[in-house]
């Protein structure tokens, strides 16, 4: 019953704390999911280790890439100048996570580590071939987000590892992203289906789908089709994407409806990307 709250000043102190307490400890970022899990008695950590004092909340860019600190809030993503054009899908996804109060405290790192199949930002990051940076007792390691996610609630992160940032390459000018979400209401909503797409003119296509499988997934058959055939294949890509996912029936929606949504939203997200590329590169 109850927990101790720790607020270390350095990443190393946080890691060593986690090492000492093992399974009894949890890192806490925004806490918008963790606290609910604790209140619903699904988790009962004895120690909460805050990541708030570690300076991980910056979003930055170099000539080649963007780095989002794990503690950057969704609100920060929504307003970040670099995410208003080719990378607008990041802002679009962050803008529909929870409500204003949630976006003001919930973090990008939390959205990733929590590994909800319905996480809104994760499909966008997957389409950007994002790489996550981890720090643990043995030092730093990085790996593609696609390999970081295992299944609902599970990643390859070890209990004493901290996700410090997520990074991805700056996209070429003739490219675009789009994010779409379906739910029963327009805010404070967990996605029934969410879809992200990333198209590079004459180049790669990335499509990822959330809430349609035991984790957020890329739909590679659909991607390959679009890379081969372009805009004429968007409708068929939607159909292929629906065939690649394995949604379930639950209280939020039926699998049948989720299939329908995947097909529709994948086609729309691709069309939106194509339109955005056209508008920005007349």
């Amino acid at each position: 019953m109850g927990f101790s709250f720790h607020r270390p000043d350095t990443i190393d102190a946080a890691i060593s704390f986690a090492g000492v307490h093992g399974e009894d400890a949890r890192f806490i970022a925004g806490g918008t999911d963790l606290i609910i899990q604790i209140n619903r008695r699904r988790l009962a950590p004895r120690h909460l280790i805050s990541l708030a004092g570690l300076g991980l909340d910056r979003i930055s860019e170099t000539s080649g890439e963007y780095v989002i600190g794990a503690m950057a809030t969704h609100d920060a993503v929504v307003t970040y100048p670099g995410f208003q054009h080719e990378l607008i899908a990041l802002a679009e996804a962050s803008a529909v996570i929870g409500g204003r109060q949630v976006r003001n405290i919930a973090t990008v790192g939390g959205n990733i580590v929590n590994a909800s199949p319905a996480a809104d930002l994760v499909p966008v990051l997957l389409t950007l071939d994002a790489v996550v940076e981890l720090r643990g007792p043995a030092g730093a390691r990085s790996l593609p987000l696609d390999r970081f996610l295992v299944e609902r609630g599970r990643t390859v992160r070890r209990p004493d590892e901290i996700l410090t940032s997520v990074r991805f390459a700056k996209p070429p000018t003739a490219s675009a992203t789009a994010f779409l979400k379906a739910g029963r209401r327009k805010a404070m909503e967990i996605s029934v289906i969410c879809v992200a797409a990333h198209l590079v003119r004459g180049g790669k296509a990335r499509i990822a789908v959330g809430a349609a499988a035991s984790r957020t997934v890329r739909v590679r058959d659909a991607e390959a089709l679009v890379e081969r055939q372009g805009a004429g294949a968007f409708h068929e890509a939607g159909r292929l994407a629906a065939a690649e996912v394995t949604p379930i029936d639950d209280v939020r929606a039926s699998a049948r409806y989720r299939d329908l949504l995947v097909a529709a939203l994948v086609e729309r997200a691709l069309a939106s990307c194509a339109e955005r590329i056209g508008k920005a590169n007349p």
């Binding site: 019953m1 379906a182 029963r184 209401r185 327009k186 805010a187 967990i190």
Partner: protein, 765 residues
């Protein structure tokens, strides 16, 4: 009713309780605390229907900080209930729904109380359960209450087995009516459980004093009903129970009946410490008083030119494991089915049915949205089939002034035609299916209804103070609607003072005069009338006091602008109050009001607790919306309400009521549902119970129609409940107009529409 210009009534003045609430200083029941207070928690059944074989509280009692553990064996076995005394505080040997209280704990902290509840051991022996109300009606169905015939009940209800109440309304010759009909239509509609969605959970703090009296601070809507009910359960004279309502964060009919107050009172009695209980979201969604699900079947015969000839209907209402207001709600559904349409031959039956699910209650306009969804959906289906415009079809059939209502009562102040025309004009009805944006279908829908202003008496004490202010002591609580501000505006008008001079007190059953309570769209209406009576009495007192002194006739004395005036003579109201205090105890009055019952034909109604409606109101809603042709997502573009309010005491707060009611109606229509899988609620949390957010709400355009009632203050009619009645039907009709998909089950989710558009679902979606 005079037509003189009013100074205070009818004005958009700020509410008298506004500052405290918007600055966060107002103390709600959930905020209330006492020194040394313990925290209570309830152990709830994990089975839908089972015998309790063993209940062992030893481990709970042994936990440090636990002061009291109570089970069925520790208190007298007293049955209570609104229509039927079918419920006990704790399950007595048998649980009847998953979530029913089995035991309660009081401990020094909420965490300890929760741990103690988890430490209680219960063994169950499952019993056959019934969850579907139609199955519950079949011969041989498991009985939810095997001992139903031994229960005390209001004599009006016709009960048998799982039927907790059966009512009927009828007139004419149904068979002849159908025989004469040009066409006959039969449809079935279903509606879901929805929670009232008040912001503040149900909360109570109970404390016993040295005289053996109990004080309960609660956010109940009905403090006097609560006082009597607690006296019953505590086996005390009612005078020993004092209920105080510090503040209440919304009720919507969900806080009419006892929730946590009796547990707090019993735990406090046993532990000899004040005890507080407050519900969680999970408790709210499993053991509260949500709107009952219904199955409504309608058979309607019409003439070739679209006149209703014969209508037959049946409402099966799933009241859950305890009747509460279910039998009355099933009965009131019949008036909603009947009106606002003339029908020479009709026969409607309402059946409230027990199932092994959570109890239900009187959520805002009980029966209204369910019955109206059925009637108004079917009217559109019929009109479209006959090739008659749905608005025109309605106008051919609606009540006219002087018509007979369903129980043969004479209808006065009938405004339904004006409501329909104003709503239709505003939405641009002539273009029912405008062009949608790419990938979207657009359509418009209309629905109308009528509703009552609930009766019951109101009393107020009004005191004019020597500082010129006026104290209003009402037994009705301010639910948040602004109704007490409305009553205060009437009082200020009558006394010739400003609204800001009126102070209204909290309700305290030891102090406040009796009021039937903040329910049934009656508060501003009935308390307003009581204020008029009190003001008249005060004028009489003032006249008697000053007539001799001033040597003027008492009837020449008037109140105006804070003064008492007769000819050249003038004295401030404050000075008159001071004079009265010096000479005779002050200016205090007890004003009372009750609505007269209309005359009706008893042959038309059977087993109906409320056969004829008082001070009925009429209203029409019109909506324009867009539907995504693939995902089925509905976006409401415009929403118009034309409501006859009789007299708009304060248009701002009436509009607030309309906007809020439409929001709740939109929730019931598009997104909200307590989803049961057998006896288990699948979404007992606010993540998956989907009330609309501001992002889902259109701007609601309000048209206030003022056709005065005979009995309301200045002609007012009840306004609070009606706005949530028509959204389901209006939206269903608009979705059908837009897409051709007619959804006959609530909620009308995007999924139902999309699967129907894709040809992947059954007809009822």
């Amino acid at each position: 009713m005079s037509s003189y210009e009013r100074r205070v009534a009818g004005k958009r003045l700020p509410r008298i309780d506004g500052i405290g609430k918007v600055t966060g200083k107002h103390v709600y029941a959930a905020d209330f605390a006492l020194p040394g207070m313990l925290f209570g928690k309830i152990l709830r059944s994990s089975e839908a229907h089972a015998r309790i074989r063993r209940l062992d509280v030893a481990r709970a009692l042994a936990l440090p900080g636990v002061r009291t553990v109570l089970g069925a064996g520790d208190i007298p076995q007293i049955r209570f209930g609104t229509a039927i005394k079918d419920r006990t505080m704790f399950a007595q040997g048998e649980v009847r729904f998953r979530g029913e209280a089995i035991a309660a704990v009081a401990a020094t902290s909420l965490e300890v109380a929760e741990a103690a509840v988890r430490a209680i051991e219960v063994e169950y022996e499952p019993l056959p359960a019934v969850f579907d109300p139609e199955e519950a009606l079949l011969p041989g169905a498991p009985l939810v209450h095997a001992g139903w015939s031994d229960y005390q009940a209001l004599p009006v209800f016709d009960r048998e087995g799982n039927i907790s109440g059966r009512s009927a309304i009828g007139d004419g010759d149904l068979e002849a009516g159908f025989a004469q009909s040009y066409r006959i239509y039969e449809h079935r509609f279903t509606t879901q459980h929805v929670h009232p969605g008040y912001t503040e959970p149900r909360a109570a703090v109970a404390s016993w004093d040295g005289n053996g009296d109990v004080i309960v601070w609660s956010n109940t809507q009905l403090p006097f009903d609560m006082k009597n009910m607690l006296a019953e359960v505590l086996d005390l004279p009612a005078s020993k129970v004092r209920v105080i309502v510090p503040g209440i964060g919304g009720g919507f009919g969900g806080k009419l009946r006892v929730g946590v107050e009796h547990y707090a009172a019993w735990l406090a009695r046993k532990s000899r410490r004040p005890v507080k209980l407050i519900t969680t979201s999970e408790e709210e969604l499993t053991d509260a008083y949500p709107r009952q699900p219904t199955i409504v079947t309608l058979k309607t015969g019409v003439t070739r030119d679209g006149r209703l000839l014969a209508r037959q209907g049946r409402v099966i209402l799933d009241c859950g494991a305890f009747a509460n207001s279910g039998p009355a709600t099933a009965a009131i559904a019949l008036q909603v089915l009947a009106g606002p349409y003339r029908t020479p031959h009709l026969a409607f039956e309402g059946i409230a049915v027990y199932t092994n699910k959570g109890a239900t209650g009187s959520f805002r306009a009980p029966a209204g949205p369910m019955a109206n969804f059925a009637v108004e959906s079917q009217i559109d289906l019929i009109a479209d089939d006959l090739g008659i415009d749905p608005l025109e079809f309605r106008l051919r059939n609606v009540y006219r002034e002087g018509d007979k209502g369903p129980a043969g009562e004479t209808l006065a102040s009938v405004s339904i035609e004006e409501c329909l025309r104003r709503a239709a004009d505003s939405i641009g009805w002539s273009e029912r299916k405008p062009l949608g944006k790419k990938g979207h279908s657009r359509g418009k829908g209309i629905a109308c209804s009528w509703w009552l202003t609930t009766g019951g008496s109101s009393g107020v004490y009004v005191r004019i103070n020597p500082d010129g202010t006026v104290t209003l002591v009402s037994g009705a609580v301010e639910l948040g609607s602004g109704a007490i501000t409305g009553a205060a505006q009437i009082l200020a008008e009558e006394l010739g003072v400003e609204l800001a001079q009126i102070n209204a007190t909290d309700v305290d059953t030891h102090v406040s005069p009796y009021d039937y309570g903040a329910q049934g769209s009656r508060t501003a209406f009935s308390v307003g009338n009581a204020c008029i009576a009190a003001a008249r009495d005060l004028k009489r007192q003032i006249g008697a006091l000053l007539a001799g002194q001033w040597n003027v006739p008492a009837d020449s004395i008037r109140l105006e602008a804070g003064s008492v005036v007769s000819g050249e003579k003038r004295m401030s109201l404050a000075d008159v109050a001071a004079l009265s205090q010096r000479s005779g105890g002050g200016l205090i009055s007890h004003g009372t009001a009750i609505q007269p019952m209309p005359v009706f034909d008893p042959n038309r109604v059977r087993h109906h607790p409320l056969p004829a409606w008082t001070s009925h109101s009429f209203h029409a809603h019109a909506v324009e919306l867009s539907v995504d042709q693939v995902t089925g997502e509905v976006s409401i573009d415009r929403y118009v309400v034309a409501q006859d309010v009789g007299y708009a005491i304060n248009p701002t707060y009436i509009e607030g009521q309309i906007e809020g009611g439409v929001a709740q109606g939109i929730g019931q229509t598009l997104s909200e549902e307590i989803v049961y899988d057998g006896g288990r609620v699948l979404n007992a949390n606010l993540t998956d119970y989907k009330m609309p957010t501001m992002m889902d709400m259109p701007r609601v355009e309000c048209i206030l129609i003022e056709k005065p009632s005979v009995n309301g203050p200045y002609g007012a009619k009840g306004v609070g409940e009606p706005p949530c009645i028509q959204p389901p039907a209006a939206i269903a009709n608009a979705v059908a107009a837009a897409t051709g998909v007619r959804v006959q089950s609530l909620p009308i989710t995007a999924e139902k529409i999309a699967l129907r558009l894709a040809g992947k679902a059954g007809k009822d979606g």
